[in-house]
């Protein structure tokens, strides 16, 4: 019996290290968004590449769930057999790039005829460290507001413009929260509270606050500043006020519930990103809804701002297959790929010209609104702060506490700020 334990342990030990040789095929790790033909799209994008490289074998590891992908990617990068090209979400950039895992692509881009200027500079910046470029941005989305044109028309409210303020938002939202069929219960809402940090962070920014400062090394002085606390209080108000939105307290159920309310025409404003477009396109095409997009409103006297969520492809520094890997990464982010991906509507292409083309081709004017919003956006803290996952968990917890247990935002933000200071200080 002992023998078998030993053998098993030995297998585990030898599985970890591979001394002779390695995998002979190029490996691509990718996150395939579920639905909307994303898998077929990837197939289509790599086919010409494979056709031009006969004999090349491509091993693909495609995972849909974000958390799952994060885990599998980091595990395989830490192992002895990392993929040769991998999709890198901005939130994994600190972990991967700052530790020297990714290859600096600058020396090779010219050789394969890629001008880094083709990418939107704000997005490329996420993957830049000094003069080096450690990843090629693929696509991104700003956080924006989707609005239901029918509801606004019916109430004779003009469509919002990009420079609208929180007060405008509240006024319209209040006006559109109504009991339309007169049965005594409200069945149409102006806004809905979404507890996801990714979606409420831009609201804090457009309120003049922020959750971290000093290049992400500190939270106190920012998270507990007056502007931030006020913005937290204001945003939490969307959850607790009966005259603004439905009571969906549970953050986990919110995404689906809000999207469904919006899709069924019972919600006027929804904070969202580009990922909502494939679904909405289908609904709009069926004529069930008219939808517009607009930037997130800002607090009076504060410049409007939003968050950009970016992902791109990177190549590990230790791969021997630099040529094939860099070529594939470039091809997956070139304008043809960008255009194809733009068509599916899952994200805005990071190639600036392709994004403009997508916006021009979009008769609904949605992508143009996204581009205008993106112009005022900056990448999320996740692209800079190594322990962002821990930070995010505590921030989500903060919002949860303010909303669910009605804790005083000043005290709660102060406590969280101290906790985050410890967390950020401890990791340095």
């Amino acid at each position: 019996m002992r023998r078998v334990v030993a053998l098993c342990l030995a297998c585990w030990a030898c599985g970890g290290s591979r001394e002779d040789g390695g995998r002979g095929a190029l490996a691509l790790a990718d996150r395939i968004d579920s639905g909307a033909g994303a898998a077929e799209l990837q197939e289509r994008l790599v086919t010409p590449y494979l056709a031009r490289h006969p004999g090349l074998e491509l091993v693909r590891q495609s995972i849909a769930a974000r958390d799952e992908y994060h885990r599998v990617l980091l595990t395989s990068l830490a192992g002895d057999d990392p993929p040769d090209v991998f999709l890198l979400d901005a939130e994994d950039v600190p972990r991967v790039v700052d530790r020297g895992v990714a290859l600096d692509l600058v020396p090779y881009l010219a050789r394969i005829g890629v001008d880094p200027a083709r990418y939107d500079p704000a997005l490329l910046a996420v993957f830049r460290r000094g003069a080096g470029i450690y990843g090629l941005p693929r696509g991104y989305t700003p956080v924006v507001i989707a609005y239901n044109k029918d509801l606004l028309d019916r109430a004779a409210v003009p469509y919002p413009t990009d420079d609208w303020t929180w007060d405008d938002f509240l006024r319209v939202a209040k006006r559109l929260t109504r009991d339309t069929d007169g049965d005594g219960s409200i069945d149409q809402w102006g806004s809905a509270f979404d507890g996801r940090l990714a979606l409420w962070l831009p609201w804090i920014w457009s309120g003049g606050g922020d959750v971290l400062c000093a290049d992400g090394r500190r939270a106190s002085g920012c998270l507990d500043s007056r502007a931030t606390v006020e913005a937290l209080r204001w945003y939490a108000g969307l959850a607790t006020s009966e005259e603004l939105g439905p009571r969906i307290r549970d953050a986990r159920d919110a995404p689906g519930a809000i999207a469904r309310l919006f899709a069924s025409g019972r919600l006027a404003f929804m904070t969202t990103g580009h990922w909502a477009i494939p679904g909405l396109r289908a609904i709009v095409a069926a004529g069930r809804l008219h939808v517009g997009f607009v930037a997130i409103p800002h607090r009076e006297g504060v410049p409007s701002a939003t968050v950009l969520y970016v992902s791109g492809y990177a190549v590990p520094a230790m791969t021997l297959r630099r040529k094939a890997a860099v070529e594939l990464a470039a091809e997956l982010t070139d304008s043809a790929a960008a255009a194809a991906r733009g068509e599916t509507g899952l994200e805005l292409p990071a190639v600036a010209a392709a994004a403009r083309a997508v916006a021009t081709a979009d008769a609904l004017g949605w992508d143009a609104a996204f581009l205008r919003a993106a112009a005022r956006g900056r990448p999320s803290w996740s692209a800079r702060v190594g322990p962002w996952r821990d930070v995010a968990e505590r921030l989500a917890d903060l919002m949860d506490r303010v909303v669910s247990t009605h804790e005083d935002p000043v005290r709660a933000a102060g406590a969280t700020a101290r906790e985050l200071d410890r967390l950020l200080g401890a990791t340095r």
């Binding site: 098993c8 297998c11 599998v72 469904r260």
Partner: protein, 246 residues
């Protein structure tokens, strides 16, 4: 009271068929089609079926032989070994989860059927159950066969197995139902959408964005129905399993 127990199932089917908020006016069977089209349900079904059938077969096999040894054969240290076996029941599943995951990863079995199935092939409670059964059947026939010079394997195969059809069926049915419901290990052992079993698949669906309640209820119905059918068909085996355990 019994109605209360069934009400959630009725509500589930009603929501799936009638849609959210609708009164009993219109039936939307297309909800099922739409929900089942929203994710690779066929694949989930197939994975669940492969997983639970393979595990049930494996458990029946390993349990029968082990239970026979414990119930019928005398060998040094038998009771101590049996106690060791039983003590495995005390281990919380979650304790073994991480090491088992690392083990199958090291074998290169992460996200494969081998990895999913291999860890589940032995069920100590199944061994216990069959041992109870073997202890309860008379051993005259076996002894007669032994007197005629049959080896242990022959006795097992020719005499014991033919008598224990119902017990094996009981164990098989229970194992099948158990594995079909199994969620934690498949969640950990698989990562790609192609390998997900039904339970994990519908749990993930829940997190997915524009799926409304009728769709989710349709998915839940699809997950529940096979087990209901199994229960209906094999009702007596479920009850026998309980009798054997008490």
């Amino acid at each position: 009271m019994a109605l209360l127990m069934v009400a959630p199932f009725l509500y589930m089917v009603a929501t799936a068929l009638l849609g959210e908020g609708d009164t009993l006016r219109r039936v939307h069977p297309e909800n099922f089609a739409a929900a089942l089209a929203a994710a690779p349900f066929g694949r989930f079904f197939l994975n669940s079926a492969i997983f639970s059938v393979a595990v049930a077969l494996g458990q029946v096999l390993t349990s029968t032989t082990a239970a026979y040894a414990f119930a019928r054969l005398r060998f040094p240290g038998r009771d101590r070994v049996f106690t060791l076996y039983l003590s495995a029941l005390m281990l919380p599943v979650v304790l073994l989860l991480v090491p088992r995951f690392l083990l199958i990863s090291a074998l290169g079995w992460a996200d494969t059927y081998q990895g999913l199935i291999s860890t589940e092939l032995v069920s100590v409670s199944g061994i216990f159950l069959l041992r109870q059964f073997f202890l309860a059947i008379p051993r005259d026939l076996e002894d007669a066969a032994r007197l005629e010079g049959a080896g242990e394997w022959t006795v097992f195969r020719r005499v014991v197995l033919p008598q224990s059809g119902p017990a094996l069926a009981t164990l098989g049915v229970l194992a099948l139902a158990d594995q079909w419901k199994s969620f934690f290990w498949p969640l950990v052992a698989t990562s790609s959408a192609d390998m997900q079993v039904l339970e994990v698949g519908i749990a993930r669906l829940h997190g997915a964005y524009d799926l409304n309640w009728p769709y989710q209820m349709a998915a839940a119905t699809a997950a529940v129905v096979p087990m209901m059918v199994l229960y209906w068909v094999a009702h007596k085996y479920f009850m026998r399993g309980i009798q054997l355990r008490v």
